[in-house]
């Protein structure tokens, strides 16, 4: 995958995958492009799975005080 894809968040990748699935199920489907699009979707799904398994949440407790 490209660097651009690596910088995307999980939810952005999920959105992209949903769009690809919608393409398969929509009227714009073309058999000629199916293999390429399927490979893209498969790669994206693998990437999301890897992200979900490996990524940690970044929890930051703010330094700001709210008591005054």
């Amino acid at each position: 995958m490209s660097n651009q894809s690596e910088q995307k968040t999980v939810s952005q990748k999920m959105d992209e995958l949903s769009e690809l699935v919608a393409w398969f199920e929509g009227d714009e489907f073309e058999l000629e492009r199916a293999l390429e699009t399927y490979s893209k979707a498969e790669k994206l799904a693998a990437e999301i799975e890897q992200d979900l398994t490996g990524l940690k949440n970044e929890v930051t407790v703010l330094k700001e005080k709210f008591d005054a």
């Binding site: 940690k56 949440n57 929890v59």
Partner: protein, 366 residues
Amino acid sequence: MASDQTPKFSVSDFIAALNQSLEYSFGTVEIEGEVASFKVNQGKWVFFDLKDATGSVNCFMSLFQLRVPIEDGMKVVVRATPKVTAWGKFSLTIQSIRPSGEGSLRKSFELLKAKLEKEGLFAPERKRSLPEIPDHIAVISSTSAAGYADFVKILNDRWGGLKVDVAHVQVQGESAPEQIIRAIAHFNEQEILPEVLVIIRGGGSADDLAAFNDEPLVRAIAASRIPTLVGVGHEVDVSLADMVADVRAATPSNAAQIIVPDRKEVIGMLGQLMRRILVRTEGIVDDYLRETNATLRQGLGVLDARVDLLQSQLVTSRQVMAAYDPRAVLSRGYAIIRGEVAKDSTITIEQQKRIITAEVKDVKSI
């Protein structure tokens, strides 16, 4: 008769000295009692008596300090400074007041609920939906509270890659509402807003949770530009902060469940999605194959018919050709004569199985 040691004051000085003594002796005190003769003057000043079975004291405060509805008969705890006024009247200058005891808390809750409901703050049409999978959320809670730890644990179990900014605040007690309001303002002033504002606190007594029924806090939640998710107390606890939030969570753990999906479920769903598009593609390829086969069959049918026609034409042509074949005539006993048919000339006579050379003796016309 007063001795020379006896202090002498003017009235004003005496009142000032008295107030100084009061301030030195008590400073700020908390007093619990029942509210009587509650009234608001000029829309600015609040007066009431605080009493118990045998005593009563006048109380005064400004209206903006009144954060929860109060009415006669309610048991309250006031935080106040005792003072003697310029007219010699003893009173308590109230800094804060909060209902005390289940009955008063309930009463105050109901009064404020009715007021805010009338303003439409709890109306379903005001509710905004939360993003399906946020990338950036803000959390307002006490980082030392069990509810916060539960929230973070479940959040981490369920999802990854989320940016979580946490504002540590008091979640119970007198200063809690203001701290939470400041934290709400802080997140709402960010250049890039978090996608969800989560306000959480674990379980506690009605008194512990009373901060979440504070009117200015409820209004701050309602005014938040960021969609809000509030999870306070246990499932049975309902606060006005819950009611005004865009989404209510039963507990802090439930808030984490609402805010992000479970990664295991999502991974399972990814597999389903891929299977779905595979089945869809296979279905389309099958359709194409069926159509292609049908077209091919149709083409072959046309070709077969054409071949049959040509074959039939060939048979006819062959029959015609056979009819014109001279050998067929010879086989029936006829002969072909070649050469000049004149007296004394030589001719050849071809029969089916032999050729005869003959001399012409005579030629007669018939």
